[in-house]
Symmetry: C2
Subunit: 314 residues, 2 copies
């Protein structure tokens, strides 16, 4: 598992270890956290390799003997892509190519890949199905992820591999470390009297609870049988940023003045409406257990119990 | 112009010089040919730089003072992608990122990019429109090109650039150097009594004459006004490989035994049916002057007049 120390990766590591699988975790700890692997590290079925995906040789050696690759490592920072345009290319696209080459060297056939609903750019169909019209990319993050998807698919055709590609909405829950919930939580701890909001607050987004996300991924890799299996993963609902603000403020018992930066985008390349059609994964029998509101509250409870996370980044 | 010494690039260079533009050509001559620039080199409006797109610094310096970038350089070898999987990533995707970064450094806003109908993979709609459902990539070439498209689009959104993306069918005509016409021509020169054909001969493909292709590109960059302007470029017809064999053999006056390798694909990742919907470029007033059959004959005439091309590669 690449990105084993990240938000989703560490939760998935725990799930796989709980199901008595052997897990070799690979992470460069650029955003992953050793603390997230505390439980995993106590398992004799877990091996941790502190390595970088751009180090193709170390990666190839790390994969020796593995049977299935979960490729979750990424630069998951959608918002600041234009500050360092090569980062998405390197950490998402080139890194994925290195994963594919390491798999080929080790004769590993199956890959599950964490892609993103951001690849739909500014979608024209809502909810957006996997077969949406070929989108125009609006972020370097989305571009780097659809690029990675394409190389994975070409490897499936060219080298007989099999892929499970998951296009996530934003994920919430335990070990969540970046995004609007932690941003608002941090702000309201420092200045409960006001809240700075990017955009005009009407951006509509969909979210999914991390354990629901893992349920879907594990079900898909066990059930789907195509050469390239692509699934949107989200809830059948969306909320406005303003809804989320209401839940967060209600949970904290604060009534801040809302200071909007304005405009219908939070930042350049921000997608003002994300809502995915998840009929494909639902047809396998999956459904999320938590609503968006419940996921936001669960995330708040995690942040409250883990002040180090909430205070880690400005 | 990147790839100025290539098939399409050298023809475009001649057209631009003929229209009294200044052209700075950039090519590493990995597949480009100095002979194709004989005419251009006599023009005082032409500057040739022998450089590689992976040399970001040289590329950035070469672009100084330019106003518009035609990015045509590519590894255009669809068929042998699985022999060297990193080549498409490097020469098509990373190279394009270097072009975008060099443009940003030089504050150049406009880019025209040579993409490919191969990005549609095995399309489900024929003729295939630009807004086809999100395809699954079947070749490293297609994957590397849709990756490049995505980064170009993200730069348009993130950095205020403007793009003209052209998804070509296979191009034929003067300075054509690789593909089925030259392959068949070479074979029939050596052994006119038989012809080896990849696949079963019923693969259906569309082709476009190079000067028709250039007419379309030049019209689009003058007429289209969007931030990201995407055009399929092809004819409103397709032919079977067997049709093309008939035209070629008729032109040469030979009746070879046809030896098919079999199967509905010429090679792994070969697309058995390519036929693009070109309504968008036609709506600007363009139409091709030559049919596919005329383009094939024109290509044969070029090869007959240029035996060095026909004999260059085994």
């Amino acid at each position: 598992m690449t990105g084993c120390a990240g938000f989703i990766g560490s939760n998935l590591t725990d799930r796989l270890l709980g199901a008595h699988h052997q897990v070799v975790g690979y992470d460069n700890f650029s955003t992953g956290r050793a603390a997230f692997l505390e439980g995993a590290s106590r398992s004799e079925h877990f091996t941790l390799i502190n390595g970088d995906l751009l180090d193709a040789q170390e990666l190839t050696e790390a994969m020796a003997g593995c049977q299935f690759v979960f490729h979750l490592a990424a630069n998951a920072d959608v918002r600041f892509g234009t500050d360092h345009p090569r980062k998405d290319l390197e950490q998402n696209t080139i890194a994925t190519m290195n994963v594919l080459e390491a798999m080929r060297s080790n004769r590993i056939r199956d890959i599950a890949f964490a892609s993103t609903g951001s690849i739909y750019g500014e979608a024209v169909t809502f909810p957006t199905p996997e077969s949406a019209p070929l989108p125009i990319q609006t972020s370097l993050y989305g571009a780097s992820k659809i690029a990675a998807e394409g190389f994975i698919e070409a490897y499936c055709e060219g080298f007989g591999m099999r892929a499970f590609i998951f296009r996530f909405v934003s994920i919430l829950g335990e070990r969540y470390t970046h995004g609007h919930v932690v941003d608002f939580y941090r702000q309201l701890r420092v200045h409960p009297e006001y809240l700075q909001v990017l955009g005009n607050g009407t951006q509509r987004k969909s979210y999914l609870y991390v354990q629901d996300c893992l349920d879907a991924m594990l079900l898909a890799v066990q059930s789907a049988s195509g050469k390239v299996n692509i699934f949107n993963l989200g809830t059948d609902e969306y909320c406005e940023v303003n809804d989320s603000i209401g839940w967060i403020c209600g949970h904290l018992g604060v009534k801040p003045e809302l200071r909007y930066s304005g405009g219908d985008q939070g930042w350049i390349g921000d997608n003002p409406f994300i809502f995915l059609d998840c009929a494909a994964i639902r047809s396998l029998g999956w459904q999320p257990k938590l609503s968006i509101q419940q996921s936001v509250i669960r995330t708040m409870e995690f942040l409250e119990k883990n002040p180090a996370i909430a205070e880690a980044v400005a």
